[in-house]
Amino acid sequence: MATATTEAIPWTENVDRALAESKKTNKPVLLDFTAAPM
C-alpha cells in the first residue's frame, strides 16, 4: 500500500522577507500564529 510522505514546511519567522518573496513569486504569505511548541 502506498503511503503519502509528509513534506517538511520551510517555515520562516521573518514577515517582511516573506512579503518580499511574495511580491516576487506572486504567492500569498501564510502567517501561522501559534502557542504550540515550535
Partner: protein, 145 residues
Amino acid sequence: MYPEARVSAFINTNFIPVRLHVKNHADEMKRFGVDWTPTVLLVGADGKELYRIEGFLPADDFLGQLQLGFGHAQFTRGNFEDAERQFRDVCEKLSGTDAAAEATYWAGVSRYKSSNDAAALKATAQAFKDRYQNSIWAKKASVWA
C-alpha cells in the same frame, strides 16, 4: 494538521509559510490584529489580509479552509477561472467539510464573474437544493433561484 502530507504539500505549493510564536512575536500579533491562537492569516505581498482561519481544525477541514482562502486570493486578483477551479476542488474532494458549502457559493460567483452569465447564479441556487440546504450559504444563494 501539519504532519498531514496533503496539508503540507498544499502549503508548500501555494504559499510563503511564516510561523510566529505568541511568546516571541507580540509586535506581529498587533500588526495583523491577532488576539487568539491558533490563527492562520493569508496575506498578499502588500500585507493586506486576504483570509483568516481562527481556532483548531482537523486536517480535512483545515485543508478546506486553506483552499477557500487560496480561492479568495485568486478571486481578489480577478483570476475568476482559477478561483472557480479551487472552489470546485473543495466541493468535490472535501464535500464533507463546512468549507464545501461556502465553496459551492463562491464557485458560482466566480463562474458568474468570469462569464457574466446570471445562469451561473441560478445553477448555484439549484445546487443548494440538493446539498447543504441548512447552511448559511444556501440561504445567501436562495435569492438567485
